[in-house]
Symmetry: C2
Subunit: 364 residues, 2 copies
Amino acid sequence: MADTKPVVAFLGPKASYTHQATVSSFPEKEYDLQPQTSIEDVFAAVQSGTASHGVVPFENSSNGSVVFTLDLFADRDGKYSDILVEGEIYLPVRHCLLGHPSTNTNTNTTSRSGSPTKRTDLPWRRLQNDSPNISGAVTPTQAAPNPTKPKTAPAQDITHIKKLYSHPQAWGQCHLFLSTYLKSTERQDVSSTSKAAELVAQDTTGTSAAISSKIAAEMNGLSVLAEGIEDREGNSTRFFILRHAASPSPTPPPSIDPSHFKTLISFTVSHTSPGALADSLAVFKAHDLNLTSINTRPSGEGGRAWQYIFFVEVMGRKEGEGEGGKVNEALRELGGVCRGWRWLGSWENKLLAEKNGGKNGELK
Amino acid sequence: MADTKPVVAFLGPKASYTHQATVSSFPEKEYDLQPQTSIEDVFAAVQSGTASHGVVPFENSSNGSVVFTLDLFADRDGKYSDILVEGEIYLPVRHCLLGHPSTNTNTNTTSRSGSPTKRTDLPWRRLQNDSPNISGAVTPTQAAPNPTKPKTAPAQDITHIKKLYSHPQAWGQCHLFLSTYLKSTERQDVSSTSKAAELVAQDTTGTSAAISSKIAAEMNGLSVLAEGIEDREGNSTRFFILRHAASPSPTPPPSIDPSHFKTLISFTVSHTSPGALADSLAVFKAHDLNLTSINTRPSGEGGRAWQYIFFVEVMGRKEGEGEGGKVNEALRELGGVCRGWRWLGSWENKLLAEKNGGKNGELK
């Protein structure tokens, strides 16, 4: 018994960004980390109790919400009624272009060993020079908040790349690099960025590349053809740590103010009562609970189209049943204006914790 | 001049659902319909004036919003500042499994010509009978609002199918059918459902299948292995008709009440003012303007993560500058509580038009 480690289910495979996030909160010395093939499998493992915790992606700073995760919280079939969020993890996401070095010899470019032989003739350097829009050093600062040029250039020749593999979320995060350097290259979606690296490692033609992490390059023996190819500085993904409602909830240190927590709530509104959404959000405002996110998904209720379930995150913590606290009061009041709601967990706001009390991350 | 037809750009290729929606509003006799390879290309064609109108998908009743379209309306780089929505099209989406008939002979199943030789021994019929959960006739009615079983069964043997092609949106719409009949079949995302049918038509092994439309089966000489495989009755997609702000806006018939229109508005709120989102939505409520949708996307502003742009649709029509009307008044007031807003068009509510004044489609 003593050497049985608690199981943590995460969206795999190994070396995925979710794996990196999981390791940062659940050291492998103390936990048995088990990769799952889908986000739903993570929910199922926590609901059934085969895992004490689960880790799933929730939101990316460039791409927005992960709709698969929202749909599992929507729980239209009542399969995951005991899933609660216990914590969040922010992970900086730095994408790389991984592949085999170019073997192009007719352009005096890099040799198979990867060392450039005549730098000034490299075709990718010509590409850079031909295009007045590409400085290779554009950083989105306050002066240039919306980058229109990639912030990095290839580190090696990439003219041999004919096919790209990645997770669908990655294309949107690397739009500027791809549209500048690999505009008409064929793209294939795969289930994860680490799977993409595996496929490229197996490609004996050497003409495919993956958008994946540096860790995946090491694990698969691939070269980093370009590093940091995401459009924006600060590209990061937020993950949720899931637990079963019946499992013990960690007691927050009394030194942490309830406003330094976040709470996730889902609710539906009546389709015949005007202003029900505005009324629902006004409840949180009345209790001085700031919203940090709002999302909506088709509710699927009654088999009818064009009806929605709403998800809001507010700054605050739900206390025990019958206790006071702003969130508890707001939820009681919410019951009077919405059709139904569900508390999906309260956890410490890691953005505030990291920013030392800064207000970043608030919607309003 | 007289024989130059106005150009309408749509998300192609031909036989795509967007193409079907486009044909329903722009007859090919009167318009030159030009397929584009991406939603952004449709926006660019309308912005530059090479097309008088554009048609893009906006929302599916099962899968929710099309984030690519929202991101183009967010217009973070100011490239599409003259794009307005002029109309909407609802298209019922009935997915089919398209492929080559099975050549399995060891199970006395369908011959290559497609005619079953011994119906009771068909393996797919055994599958049906073996599984108590599959009636093949489950319809999501009020009594069964959230279907957990596919509403249709294969019309032919599909045990030879080893690989599936489709657009990423289609997997989510056909979850029940796929998890019942093709659970561990490899899936490949492609850019459109009609592209999927093309690829399957080219596959000489006959072991791949596409989730696509019946029209695509006819165009590519494929068999319909299963029909209506979407999870829910009433699965439909809403498309927007785009125009340039400088192009003449169609004058609405005076017989149509302004409340039978919809208006799309985007806005951002201050991150330091508590309750700004609730205040913004309260403006619409105060003017008795019901919301029909709300969406949010990362704003990308100031290079900072975790800030958002909001999109709302309200029931009502913006009148000319300086004129009255609820929407005009609400927008003036909105300017006082949000940081910035943009009117993205007003058009006739086709859901109301079809439902004869019904309230379907309202959020609240």
